[in-house]
Each structure stands twice: as structure tokens, then as C-alpha cells.
């Protein structure tokens, strides 16, 4: 048995779909009760293990629940049933540059953003040069980030997130950022992660990316886990299901 990095154990997650939502006190009082709603199960009894050192892909169509699952993995949502267990430090990159303050300089934002992502000041100071180097915005690091081009903004955000150096990295579809050169740099970084025996979980509906990077994959459809296992057969099954639709 290989070691388990993340265990997803019978996870179910529902959202309330409000027919009449009382977000004002008036409506709450007038109607007497809080609101009328219906539960929508975005995830139904999903169970799988992510082995240590693997690169694990989550695939599925839009609205299949993969982002919900990712947020459960990242401790942003909490499942209604079941549990998610991490073995090791975890960092999630669901959006780059979250919490950047437009008026502050790149330097100040690196410290701010990295601490939101859970790094201590000492670590940030130690890795600062590496982050700036990776982002390729050295020249502008003391400029306010509102003057950055969108590419620079995203690159800086990504550079911070990827330099947190966790044991488990959870990534949403943020790989499509930056130019080809930057993307190549990112892929290299992911490969380094793998070599270092770290676990990467990534979400994508681009099967090519998943094919190229992942050794394990899980396919989710309408909140239910369809296939989990080595990436090639999982992707095949997923593609077959899409082709099966009338064209």
C-alpha cells in the first residue's frame, strides 16, 4: 500500500437553492420563517484516496461538481456528510492574486498575499527573491500593482502561490495564465514538485493537460464519482461519454 496524502471519505455536499430568500429583515418577519429552499446535492457520496507523490487530476464537464469538491479539499466548504483528511500541509490555489491591494506595491502585496496563503514572515523573506524571480516582474516590484498588466498581475500571484512549497498543492484551472514561456515554467515547477515527492491535485476540463501531467485521475459527473484510477483509462472513459452524446 502506498501512503495516502488526502482521503476523501463518503463526501456529500448540498447547497440550498432558495425559492424565496429572506435576505432582508422585513421579508424574514413578514414570512415568519427564514426562507423556502430545496437542497441540491452537488456531491453525492464521493470516496477516493490520493496517494502521496502522485499528480491527481479531477475531470468532468461544467457543473459536474469538481470545483465544489476542490473547495471541500481546500477547506473552504465543509461537507455535509463524510470527511476530507489531509496528511501533510496543504495549500490551495483557486485564484491567483486573491487579496491583492491595488494601491500597494508588488513588494507589499507579496508579503500580504503570502501571509493570507499561510506563510510566515520569515519564510516569505527567505523566498522573496525566488518569488520575484519566478514572476519575472523584478523591474516593477516597487510599483503599485494597479499599474501592472493583467499578465504581470497573474504571474506575480501565481509565483507567490507556487512558492509556498506545501506537501499537498491543490490547483484550480489557473494554469491557463501567462504566455507560453511562463506556462512552461509552471509545468516545470509542477514536475519539480513531483520529483520532490509532493502531491498535486488539479482540476481541469482540458483533458490534454491532465493527460500530460497526471498519473491518477478521477472523473466526476453530476456530483457522482464515475471512474477513479490511472489517468489514461479515466480520461478515455470521460471522452467516450462525451462522444456518446448526439452530435
Amino acid at each position: 500500500m502506498t501512503e495516502i496524502a488526502v482521503r476523501v471519505d463518503h463526501v456529500s455536499k448540498s447547497f440550498r437553492m432558495y425559492h424565496e430568500r429572506n435576505q432582508t429583515i422585513k421579508s424574514a418577519i413578514m414570512r415568519g420563517r427564514r426562507s423556502v429552499h430545496e437542497d441540491f446535492w452537488a456531491l453525492k457520496d464521493v470516496t477516493f484516496d490520493v496517494p502521496v507523490g502522485s499528480t491527481f487530476g479531477l475531470i468532468g464537464s461544467n457543473g459536474s461538481g469538481k470545483s465544489t469538491l476542490l473547495k471541500c479539499l481546500a477547506n473552504i466548504y465543509y461537507p455535509n456528510k463524510g470527511s476530507v483528511t489531509h496528511h501533510g500541509t496543504m495549500a490551495a490555489m483557486l485564484e491567483v492574486g486573491s487579496g491583492f491591494h491595488a494601491e500597494l506595491s508588488g513588494r507589499e502585496n507579496v508579503f500580504l498575499n503570502a501571509s493570507i496563503l499561510g506563510m510566515s514572515k520569515k519564510e516569505i523573506t527567505r523566498k522573496f527573491d525566488e518569488i520575484v524571480d519566478f514572476s519575472g516582474v523584478e523591474q516593477f516590484i516597487d510599483q503599485p500593482v494597479k499599474n501592472y498588466s493583467s499578465g504581470m498581475y497573474v504571474r506575480l500571484g501565481f509565483a507567490i502561490a507556487i512558492n509556498i512549497d506545501p506537501e499537498i498543492l491543490v490547483v484550480d484551472e489557473v494554469l491557463s495564465v501567462g504566455d507560453a514561456e511562463f506556462q512552461a515554467k509552471c509545468f516545470q515547477k509542477f514536475r519539480d514538485f513531483k520529483v520532490a515527492g509532493k502531491t498535486v491535485i488539479l482540476v481541469s476540463h482540458d483533458t490534454k493537460t491532465v493527460q500530460a501531467m497526471c498519473d491518477q485521475a478521477a472523473w466526476i459527473n453530476k456530483g457522482e464519482l464515475q471512474v477513479v484510477g490511472p489517468s489514461a483509462p479515466t480520461i478515455d472513459a470521460y471522452l467516450k461519454s462525451i462522444k456518446g452524446l448526439p452530435e
Binding site: T24, A74, E95, L104
Partner: protein, 282 residues
């Protein structure tokens, strides 16, 4: 207890977010931090004009300091009040304003309202510093000493900050569920200002209370209701220390401590109960 430990772990993040507020606030303004003084000074001018010159409110002369200056007396209460109202006003919206962050990153959410207490506290400290200088000069001319009271003033400031944090925690959660909260708060703060002895001394309320006696023939006096307002005690603390330069009653200290600890604990409980649902509720 475990929660406090978690909070301690997030202290660097709290410090960084506080710095974000402080640095971001006066960026690209010519006067920078001085703006923090403008608001209380403008209020001081207008209140002094209206309440001292027109309404002829005369607070007691500082005992034993001998201070006799309405503007300084006013500021001793006005600065704590503006701090409280800033924390509450900004704190209410602190979660709603950071939707993006809450939905994308896992971190201890409590730092969002608390960072506002930090940044407002920083401004307040600056304002109080200026006030202390003014009071020292004024009392120095009268032959008294001001500086020895500063440590106690700082303790009182911490108590008020904890009290304000508790309120901000509760209201920030309430505002996630009912967006009306922020509008209510604006009105309630207005009423609270006039119900607190900021622009008039609480002794005036006691005078009226003694004239009326028990309300509607009952044993309840106006005073006994008035003193339910925690700000009466907090402002008393600040005025006695800063303006009168003497030891406040031990009872006043304990009442303020109880209010601060009680509301903060309540705020923590409310916040903790709802913290996990924030990402999806927002």
C-alpha cells in the same frame, strides 16, 4: 481556548491585513495620516460651537487637574467614541467586502473584522497621542502632571478595543445573513451617540433624574436606565483619567472589563458558529 491558540497562529496575517488597511487608506493623499485628525477636529469645532457657546453646556472643572476647557473635555470622550463607531461601521461590512477572498482562500476568517479594529486602533492611538500632548501642555500651565496616567489610559483603550471587536464580530456575521444590518447600524450609532455622555456630561442626566424621581411612580430612575449603557462607563473612565487626572472608581473598571470580556466572548461564539458557512452563504 483552542480557538485562541488558532487566533494566535494567525497573528502575522492579522498584522499584515492591518497594515494593508493602514497603508492603503491614505495612499495618494497629500496629507496622509493627518487626515485621521481632521474628522475629530472638525467635529470638535462644530460641537464646541453648538454645545458650549449656544447651549451653554458646562462640564465640571477637572478635579484635581483644574482643566477647564470644553474642547479638550469633549475630545476626551469624542475620540473613544469615533474609534468605536469606526470599528462598528467598517466591521459590519468586513466579511461582505471580502467575498472574493473568503470564497477562494482558506484562512482564519476572524482576522477580517479584527484587522479593522487594528487599523482603526492605530489611527485612534495617533489621535490620542495628539490629545495627550495638548492635555499635557494645558495641565502643565496649571501646574499638574499628565504623563503618569498614560499607562492606565492605554489599559482603558485596550478594554474599549476588545469591547468594539466583540460588537464588530457579531454584526459582521449578522450582515452576511441580513444586509439590512449595515443600514440599521448607521441609525443606531447616531442614537447611541446622543444617548452617551459624549457631548454633555453624565452629571446633567443625574440632575434631571433627581428632578423626576421614579419614572411613572415606580422605583426605577432615569439614571438607573442610563447607566445600563456601557459607553457611559467607558467614557467616564477616559474622562476621569485624561481630564480629571485621578483614579477612576474600581467599580467603573470592573463594569468596563465585564462588558468588554462579555461581548467579546459572545462575538467569538457567534462568529465561530457561523464561520464555516461563510463561503457558501455570501
Amino acid at each position: 481556548m483552542r480557538y485562541l491558540k488558532e487566533l494566535l497562529k494567525s497573528r502575522e496575517l492579522l498584522a499584515n491585513l492591518t497594515m494593508r488597511e493602514i497603508r492603503g487608506k491614505y495612499k495618494r493623499t497629500v496629507f496622509g495620516q493627518l487626515w485621521s485628525l481632521v474628522n475629530p477636529l472638525a467635529l470638535m469645532l462644530i460641537y464646541t460651537f453648538v454645545f458650549s457657546l449656544i447651549f451653554r453646556i458646562k462640564p465640571d472643572v477637572g478635579d484635581p487637574s483644574g482643566q477647564n476647557n470644553f474642547a479638550l473635555w469633549l475630545l476626551c470622550g469624542l475620540l473613544p467614541w469615533t474609534f468605536l463607531s469606526t470599528v462598528i461601521n467598517l466591521g459590519v461590512g468586513s466579511l461582505v467586502a471580502n467575498v472574493g477572498l473568503i470564497q477562494k482562500v482558506a484562512f482564519n476568517r476572524i482576522v477580517l473584522p479584527l484587522s479593522l479594529v487594528g487599523s482603526a486602533g492605530y489611527n485612534w492611538l495617533f489621535e490620542m497621542g495628539v490629545l495627550v500632548v495638548a492635555l499635557t501642555i494645558s495641565v502643565g500651565l496649571l501646574g499638574g502632571i499628565m504623563l503618569q496616567w498614560i499607562p492606565l489610559v492605554i489599559i482603558a483603550m485596550v478594554l474599549l478595543a476588545v469591547f468594539a471587536a466583540g460588537i464588530a464580530l457579531m454584526l459582521s456575521i449578522a450582515n452576511v445573513y441580513f444586509r439590512d444590518t449595515q443600514w440599521f447600524v448607521t441609525i443606531l450609532l447616531q442614537m447611541w451617540l446622543y444617548l452617551s455622555p459624549v457631548i454633555y456630561p453624565s452629571s446633567m442626566v443625574s440632575t434631571v433624574s433627581n428632578q423626576i424621581g421614579g419614572i411613572f411612580g415606580s422605583g426605577i430612575t432615569l439614571d438607573s436606565i442610563y447607566y445600563l449603557n456601557p459607553m457611559v462607563h467607558f467614557l467616564d473612565l477616559f474622562r476621569v483619567l485624561l481630564y480629571d487626572n485621578r483614579w477612576p472608581d474600581v467599580a467603573t473598571w470592573f463594569i468596563c472589563l465585564a462588558w468588554a470580556v462579555g461581548l467579546f466572548a459572545l462575538g467569538m461564539i457567534v462568529f465561530r458558529r457561523n464561520e464555516r458557512n461563510l463561503a457558501e452563504t455570501l
